[in-house]
Symmetry: C2
């Protein structure tokens, strides 16, 4: 089922918040508006992490460790599923050292307090 | 939303088909009953793969390359989403060389021809 335009626009706003505030400015507090409070992330090379506070700690460390310059997110497919959305996407990470890393992901989106947020987030590298 | 018992049982049957027929017997034709015809998989270290025929080719090669002895799948969380299910799970792969590899995954399940199948399948290693 296709995703209504208003929902797709709300998803883009959330993604832009992640790229602008979290990736560029290391503002992990912005993750309150990106992940649901009971979200789960499944990072490659690490166990799954449950709960937004734990997720903030993960990203605070990961963004520093990777020395990220920019992150861009692009939806490949978004599928409405009841009052949720399942998205397949691609991320491109550019580091300060000039390296480009291609990543693909699946995000299960839910609305929380009227904001579309990532409830389940899993990714892996293309290479 | 919790998943009805009958759906959870149908999901287990599909997972058992994968572990018994595909992982143990290299019977990739059984994937007709595991993946939807338009399914997408997102394997770590490779681009995403769309369509069941391409997915069969991937698993045929991957199962041989990994020299898999057994695969076990366990649901960590299953969330009903409209007439679909989003599942978080853990896989344990044991190779013939005796190595154990821990993997976590997210599967977006859909019904096709009355069978619950994997429509989107992404995973990554724990270590």
């Amino acid at each position: 089922m296709p995703v209504p335009d208003a929902v797709a626009a709300a998803m883009r706003r959330t993604n832009e918040l992640f790229t602008a505030e979290v990736a560029l400015k290391r503002n992990v507090q912005a993750l309150d508006q990106v992940y649901t409070s009971s979200a789960t992330i499944l990072p490659p090379g690490a166990p799954m992490i449950e709960g937004r506070e734990q997720i903030k700690a993960f990203w605070g460390q990961a963004m520093t460790g990777m020395d990220v310059k920019t992150v861009s997110l692009a939806t490949v497919r978004a599928d409405a599923a009841g009052d949720t959305v399942v998205e397949i996407g691609r991320a491109e990470i550019v580091t300060n050292a000039g390296q480009t890393v291609g990543v693909k992901y699946v995000v299960h989106w839910k609305q929380e307090d009227g904001v579309w947020k990532w409830h389940t987030d899993i990714w892996n590298p293309n290479q």
